[in-house]
């Protein structure tokens, strides 16, 4: 394996491109040495991050771009997702597993992301929008 394989996707904000993003993340996770099942989960985390960037960040405006950089290295997998939206405060999002929220029909995306990667860092971009970085380390041994 080369020390680092990278694939960057720049797309118009359309939900119908989401399966491609998922497949791409899954493949890059496999190249990083994760097995099929782990790679599907990692793909799912990236999928959720990308849906948020497209739907919440860019409000599905096809003129706005979402930027996704996927990287496989000896350490593992990382994904970096940016949008051009208003940004948000991830700590303010309600916990979907609390009794009162169980019947909400949305609000579970970040929960899935957290479940399937090791670290997630959110920050506001200098220009406009959010920036999310997820990493999943390869536990060798």
């Amino acid at each position: 394996m080369a020390s680092s394989t990278s694939l960057r996707l720049v797309l118009s904000s359309e939900v119908r491109l989401i399966d491609l993003i998922h497949q791409s993340a899954e493949k890059v996770a496999q190249l990083a040495g994760f097995d099929e099942d782990e790679a599907l989960n990692i793909g799912l985390a990236v999928r959720e991050g990308a849906i948020n960037a497209i739907v919440h960040g860019n409000r599905s405006d096809p003129n706005l771009e979402v930027n996704i950089t996927l990287r496989a290295s000896d350490e593992g997998f990382s994904a970096h997702i940016t949008d051009e939206g208003e940004g948000f405060d991830p700590d303010a999002a309600p916990d979907p597993t609390e009794e009162d929220n169980l019947l909400a029909t949305s609000g579970r995306g970040m929960l899935l992301m957290r479940a399937f990667v090791d670290d997630i860092v959110y920050s506001r971009r200098e220009a406009r929008g959010m920036e999310v970085t997820m990493t999943k380390r390869r536990t060798t041994g």
């Binding site: 989401i18 599907l40 979907p96 597993t97 909400a104 029909t105 949305s106 579970r108 929960l111 899935l112």
Partner: protein
């Protein structure tokens, strides 16, 4: 996602196959379940055996089905969630919300 309906007694068993994900599977699920409720059906058993995974939109749609059933005085229950789908129901604590069965007959008589 593929969807088929079997009417067994007063229960509609909805056999789902594929992934319940945003913009595709979730829409198929919504339309089929709405059609059943609109047609007067009150008891729906979603057979998840052949569903490989769901995303947050798909999970949200499951909950939406559950709520719509309640509104109509009906019920939605789950049959045989597979490995990944089962994990997601646990993770989201929706296993506390949905009555879930491993055996179709047992599920059918529970309505």
């Amino acid at each position: 996602m593929k969807v088929g309906v079997r009417n067994i007694g007063h229960v509609a068993v909805v056999d789902l196959a594929g992934k319940i994900t945003i913009g595709e599977g979730d829409v198929v699920l919504r339309e089929k379940v709405n059609e059943l409720f609109d047609g007067g059906q009150q008891h729906v058993l979603l057979n998840l055996e052949k569903v490989s995974y769901m995303d947050s939109a798909g999970i949200g749609e499951l909950v939406a089905c559950y709520k719509r059933a309640k509104e109509k005085g009906g019920t939605v229950k789950l049959l045989n969630p597979s490995g990944k789908v089962f994990d997601l129901l646990q993770l989201t604590k929706l296993e506390e919300v949905f009555e879930t069965y491993r055996d179709e007959k047992e599920a059918l008589v529970s309505f």
